[in-house]
Amino acid sequence: MAESTAFLRFEGIVAGYGGGDVIKGVDFSVPQGGVTCIVGPNGSGKSTLLKVVSGLLRPRLGQLWFKGTPLVGLTPREILQLGVVQVPQNHSLFREMTVEQNVELGAFLLKDRKVIAERLKNVREIFPIVAERAKDKAGSLSGGQQRIVEFARCLMLEPELVVLDEPSMGLDPKTLRLVFDTIKSMNSAGRTVLLVEQNARQALRMSHFAVVLENGLLRLSGSGSEVLNNPEIGALYLGGSIETTSKAVSPAPSEL
């Protein structure tokens, strides 16, 4: 992808936590307007890569470009101001605060009370639970409800890029569908989505672009259906390595 059209571009990213490198040189671009999905086994470094995007972790090497602006070295706050928000893997609502206080805090960077009230109104329309449970403590909500409120909170900044780390983790099939539908409608509303998912099949089906991360390196990338139908990905999740399955050329089983 040409540099000028890249919305978010990872360029030679190497990152870790002081020990060895967890991300060992990652290059790819997130196209504007679509849903991009990162899949990969546990511990492959997906969350670590997203922490680099949000500014929580500074990469050791490499650069990250958002619409031509270098992100490395910016604080999480500065990255938010550019229109990139992130919902982390672990629940991140403030449990002792009410649902409404939590959602309002999503607009922490905004000063104008009128704008905040306006956005709160919009968010209430999209997510009825924000109004229904407004005065309840966030900690009293179920896991799935908390996820929805986290989405509501992250939309308060009306971001251009929404980064989601395993949004469906621990959800029952019905809530999972609701969460995926919500992601789709966020995307239809014009927001680019970058997401990490373990429910790979469902996530890849709605993704325009996808990458597979294994052990800190990209093993595959392509359109959602390309990755979905690639025989190697099945092997990856079965625990095999790419080398041993590379001779497999038969099409993926149809149920994949």
């Binding site: 002081g18 949000s54 929580l56 604080t75 999480p76 706050r77 938010l80 101001q81 928000v85 992130q86 919902v87 982390p88 672990n90 629940h91 991140s92 609502l93 403030f94 449990r95 002792e96 605060m97 206080q101 805090l105 999503g106 922490f108 960077l109 909170r153």
Partner: protein, 294 residues
């Protein structure tokens, strides 16, 4: 046992307890936001007391008026300590390392205070330290009441700041979950620095009242810090309400035991209660076991 002694004990528990609550609130705020145990809190109280002493003896400034100088001074001391030492503490060993580092800082301040003020006990003087008023047939020095009002006013201000302001919301968010706070645009580092400053600043007020109600020298800080630590452990580490409750409980209990039984049993009884409470509620009276996600 006489009832006026008991009333006196209860009264003292509330009046003195509120001042301990103020000092302990600083400690628990610093722990809650930063995971740092500030062992220097005790000597900083004494530093605050000595600053008030110098202002009153050498410059003739009233103890309460002097707070306008000593509170900002200790706020700056807190900011400097945080910038120079606390920001260096990182990783999972942060809390235990902070104990060592703040202990070293305490020793340095103690040495300096011993040099400047000698090891002889002093006590702050003012008319309200010497003169008393009568309540329930008891004579209570005015300083106890003034100190109580000061503590209540400062705790109230802290409460309003925490629960009614934007900055307060950023402190509470950082208290609950630093990652989540950072991801909504809160500058957690700045919040931490200011919290450390605030946590230390309250020692100026606490130290002044302490120094006016007790004779002290630099080594008094050891008794102070052990009391403050047990208060925040009993209340629940990081809980502001817990610190208030535990401080009043500790002083009242100590006083009541001294009256109905013997002063010798004051401290052991408090620790007995502490052990019982912690065995039933390891998180303390008001604390929560997992405020943060792992």
């Amino acid at each position: 046992m006489n009832s006026s002694a008991l009333i006196h004990a209860l009264l003292d528990g509330v009046l003195t307890g509120s001042v301990y609550a103020l000092m302990a609130t600083g400690l628990t705020l610093i722990f809650g936001v930063m995971n740092i145990i500030n062992i220097a809190q005790g000597i900083l109280v004494i530093l605050g007391a000595y600053l008030s002493y110098t202002l009153s003896v050498h410059f003739g400034i009233d103890l309460f008026a002097g707070l306008v100088i000593t509170i900002p001074t200790l706020f700056v001391v807190g900011i400097v300590v945080e910038r120079f030492f606390m920001t260096k503490l990182k990783g999972p060993e942060r809390t235990s390392m902070s104990i060592l580092v703040t202990y070293a800082i305490a020793l340095i301040i103690e040495g300096a205070l011993n040099m400047i003020y000698s090891i002889n006990d002093v006590q702050l003087k003012a008319w309200y330290v010497n003169q008393s008023f009568r309540v329930f047939g008891l004579w209570i020095p005015y300083i106890y009441m003034f100190g109580f009002f000061l503590a209540v006013a400062l705790l109230g201000a802290l409460y309003v700041m925490l629960y009614r302001t934007r900055f307060g919301a950023s402190i509470r968010a950082s208290l609950a979950d630093q990652t989540a706070a950072a991801l909504i645009g809160i500058n957690v580092k700045r919040v931490s620095t200011i919290c450390f400053g605030l946590g230390v600043a309250v020692t100026a007020a606490g130290g002044m009242v302490y120094g006016a109600t007790n004779a002290f020298n630099a080594s008094t800080s050891y008794d102070l810090i052990s009391r403050l630590l047990t208060i925040i452990v009993l209340g629940g580490m990081g809980s502001l309400g817990g610190a208030l409750l535990a401080a009043i409980l500790m002083v009242t209990l100590g006083d009541v035991i001294a009256v109905v039984w013997s002063p010798i049993w004051s401290t052991p009884t408090y620790f007995f209660v502490l052990v019982i409470v912690l065995s039933l509620r390891p998180q303390g009276l008001v604390g929560k076991l997992s405020v943060r996600e792992a």
